[in-house]
C-alpha cells in the first residue's frame, strides 16, 4: 500500500484556523451547539489541495472507467485518497468512542484527536452526540450504576445501546449528585469535594478543596464562559452571623475557574433571595436560579449570574396565571420555566432570546400522565426536533409526544430527583490541565 502523500504535516490541519470553527465570530451569548450553520464550509481554499498529483488523478479516471468491468480486474486500482482537511471533516462527525479507537490509526490522527481545537470542532457538530445519563442503585449495597443512553434511540423505536459508565470514584454510602453537565463534562459533588468528569474519554479531575467549613454548603453549579474559553464552578453557601444582636444571613458566592488552583469570592448573591430549587441551570453563558424575592414573599424571580462579568441580573418571568409551583431548566439551548398553576398540567415556557422578556413563548402544555400528588416532580429534560418531550415524572422517565398527546414509558431505572438523570453531550473535551 503506497503511503499517502496527501496527509501532510500532523498539526497542519489541526492548527489552521480556516478549518476549525472560528468561535469568536459567533454570537457571544448563545452558541447554539447543535447548529450546523456554524461549520466551516468547504471554501475555495480547498480547491488548491484538489489539484491532485497526477497519480491520484489517473486513479480516479481508472476507477470510473473500469467500473463496468469490475469483474475483470486483476489488480484493483489505487483508491483515491482524501486530503487531510477532508478527513478532519469526516472525523469530526464520529462519536467519541470511535475517535478514541481511531487514535491508533496513525500518529497524525492521534495528534488531531487529542487536539483541543479539534475537540471544539467536534463538539459543535451534531445533536447525535446527545445522551441521557441515569443513575440508579445497584443490587450491590451502596453502589450506584451510571448508564448512558443515546437520545436518538430514546426517541425512536430503535433499540438503545445503553452503555454502563465506569464511575471514577469509589462509591460511598450515598449517591453523588451530578450538579451540572456542560460540553461533555459532568460536575459531581462528593461530600465537599467537587469533581469534573468526562465519561466519554474517561478523564476526571478533582477541584481544590473548599476551605470554609464553618458554613453550610448550599449549592454548586457548573458552566462555561465562552469569552475566556474557561469552565467555572460556582459555589454558594449561607453564612450566618450576628450584628448587634441580630442574626444576619448572607449568601456567599465563590467561583473556581478550571485551570486555576483556588476559589475566588465574587459578589454576594442578591441577599434577600432564597432558593426554591438550589441547582443552578447553565444556559447562554449564564447560570440561573429560581428564587423567592425575599423571605416573606411567595413571589418568585429568576436570578442570573453572567459567567463572563461575574455579575447578577434579574430575569423577568413570563406572564403566567399564577406560577404557584415552578422550576427552571434548559431546553433547546434556551432558558425554560416549567410551571404548574393547576393540578393537571405543566406548562413549558421557553425564552427564545435570553434576557429578552418579550421573547417568552409557551412551548407545550404537558398534561399529567395520571393522577399525581399535589406537588409532583415533573421535570422536562429534553425536547427533540420533532417536538417530543423527554421528562421525568416522579421517579420515572417518559417521552411525551406533543403532536398526538401520547406518553411512552421508557423503562429506564434512575434515582429520584433531578440529580439522578442528566442530559449529556458527549465530547472530547478534557477537564484535566
Amino acid at each position: 500500500m503506497a503511503p499517502s502523500s496527501d496527509i501532510g504535516e500532523p498539526n497542519d490541519a489541526a492548527s489552521s484556523n480556516s478549518l476549525m470553527e472560528d468561535t469568536t465570530s459567533t454570537k457571544k451569548r448563545c452558541l447554539n451547539s447543535s447548529s450546523n450553520g456554524t461549520l466551516t464550509p468547504p471554501s475555495s481554499s480547498f480547491t488548491g489541495t484538489l489539484k491532485p498529483p497526477s497519480s491520484t488523478y489517473h486513479s480516479i479516471v481508472t476507477l470510473t472507467l473500469q467500473s463496468s468491468s469490475r469483474d475483470s480486474l486483476h489488480t484493483p486500482p489505487p483508491l483515491p485518497t482524501l486530503p487531510f482537511e477532508l478527513i478532519v471533516e469526516i472525523l469530526s462527525k464520529l462519536p467519541v468512542k470511535s475517535l478514541i479507537q481511531f487514535q491508533c490509526v496513525c500518529k497524525s490522527w492521534k495528534s488531531l484527536i487529542s487536539d483541543p481545537k479539534f475537540a471544539k470542532k467536534h463538539l459543535h457538530m451534531t445533536t447525535k452526540h446527545h445522551h441521557l445519563i441515569s443513575a440508579f442503585a445497584s443490587s450491590v449495597p451502596y453502589e450506584f450504576i451510571h448508564m448512558s443512553y443515546p437520545l436518538s434511540s430514546v426517541f425512536t423505536e430503535v433499540t438503545t445501546t445503553a452503555m454502563q459508565l465506569e464511575y471514577p470514584l469509589m462509591n460511598r454510602y450515598r449517591f453523588d449528585p451530578i450538579v451540572g453537565s456542560c460540553r461533555g463534562i459532568l460536575c459531581i459533588l462528593d461530600y465537599s469535594f467537587v469533581f469534573l468528569w468526562n465519561p466519554s474519554i474517561r478523564k476526571f479531575t478533582k477541584l481544590p478543596s473548599f476551605e470554609d467549613s464553618s458554613s453550610h454548603m448550599l449549592d454548586f453549579s457548573f458552566g462555561y464562559d465562552h469569552s475566556s474559553d474557561s469552565y467555572k464552578v460556582v459555589a454558594f453557601y449561607i453564612h450566618e452571623f450576628v450584628i448587634n444582636g441580630n442574626r444576619v444571613m448572607k449568601i456567599i458566592v465563590k467561583v473556581h475557574t478550571l485551570g486555576t488552583n483556588s476559589w475566588r469570592r465574587i459578589q454576594d448573591f442578591p441577599s434577600r433571595s432564597f432558593f426554591e430549587d438550589s441547582s443552578g441551570k447553565f444556559v447562554c453563558g449564564t447560570i440561573n436560579w429560581l428564587t423567592y424575592r425575599d423571605r416573606t414573599s411567595s413571589l418568585k424571580t429568576i436570578i442570573s449570574l453572567d459567567l463572563e462579568t461575574e455579575s447578577y441580573l434579574e430575569i423577568v418571568q413570563p406572564n403566567s396565571e399564577g406560577n404557584n409551583y415552578s422550576r427552571i431548566g434548559v431546553l433547546r439551548d434556551c432558558l425554560c420555566l416549567f410551571s404548574r398553576s393547576s393540578d393537571t398540567f405543566t406548562d413549558i415556557w421557553l425564552m427564545k432570546e435570553y434576557g429578552n422578556k418579550e421573547s417568552w413563548i409557551k412551548l407545550f402544555r404537558v398534561p399529567d400522565i395520571r393522577d399525581l400528588d399535589s406537588f409532583p416532580y415533573v421535570y422536562p429534560l429534553y425536547v427533540s426536533e420533532d417536538d417530543q418531550v423527554l421528562l421525568q415524572i416522579e421517579s420515572e422517565l417518559f417521552v411525551y409526544n406533543s403532536r398526538d398527546g401520547t406518553f411512552k414509558d421508557l423503562n429506564i431505572r434512575n434515582t429520584n430527583g433531578v440529580t439522578g438523570t442528566t442530559v449529556y453531550h458527549e465530547s472530547l473535551i478534557s477537564p484535566c490541565f
Binding site: F46, S67, L79, K93
Partner: protein
C-alpha cells in the same frame, strides 16, 4: 433550500461536461448550489458548456439528482437514506470528493456524515485502508495504545 433565481436564469439550464467527456444538463438554480460551477459560470458565461475536469460521468448524475430535489425543497431523511443505500463505501468516498470539488456544501455535509456513520463500527485496519493511511506506529507503540483504550474497542465488528 431553493434560491430565488433572477428572471434571466429562472428556467435556464446549464450544460456541464465531465472529465470523461459526457455532457449533462442542470437547472441554473441547482448550479447555484455548487459554488465551483457558479464561479465557472460567472467567468465563462452561462451559454457555454462548463468543463468539470475532476468530476466524472459516474458521479455527476447522482449529484444532479440530489440538487434537483434540493431546489424543490424535497430533501428528507428518507430521501437521503435512499440516496446512499446502494452505494458502497468507496463509491460514497468518490462522490464526497466530487462534492468537495464542486463546493456543493449541503451534499458535502450529508456525505461526510454518511461516511462517518459507515466508519463508526469499522476496525482501525479498515479505516487505514479506506483512507490510504500508513500505520507509522511501531508494534509496541500500537499495542500500548490499544491497551490504554481497551474499553473503547469493545463491541467492534470483525473486518469485512
Amino acid at each position: 433550500m431553493a434560491q430565488e433565481a433572477s428572471s434571466s436564469t429562472s428556467s435556464k439550464t446549464i450544460s456541464l461536461k465531465t472529465g470523461d467527456g459526457e455532457i449533462f444538463e442542470i437547472e441554473a438554480s441547482a448550479a447555484k448550489q455548487m459554488k465551483t460551477v457558479q464561479r465557472l459560470i460567472d467567468d465563462l458565461g452561462d451559454d457555454i458548456t462548463i468543463p468539470l475536469h475532476n468530476v466524472f460521468s459516474k458521479e455527476l448524475p447522482k449529484i444532479i439528482e440530489y440538487y434537483k430535489k434540493d431546489i424543490t425543497g424535497e430533501i428528507t431523511k428518507d430521501f437521503e437514506a435512499e440516496f446512499v443505500k446502494d452505494l458502497n463505501d468507496d463509491e460514497v468516498k468518490v462522490l464526497f470528493l466530487a462534492a468537495n470539488y464542486l463546493d456543493a456544501n449541503k451534499l458535502f455535509e450529508f456525505l461526510s456524515q454518511n461516511i462517518a456513520d459507515r466508519l463508526e463500527s469499522k476496525s482501525v485496519e479498515y479505516v487505514r485502508k479506506y483512507f490510504g493511511v500508513e500505520n507509522d506506529f511501531t508494534p509496541e507503540e500500537e499495542s500500548k495504545l490499544r491497551e490504554e483504550r481497551a474499553w473503547s474497542f469493545r463491541g467492534i465488528k470483525e473486518d469485512e
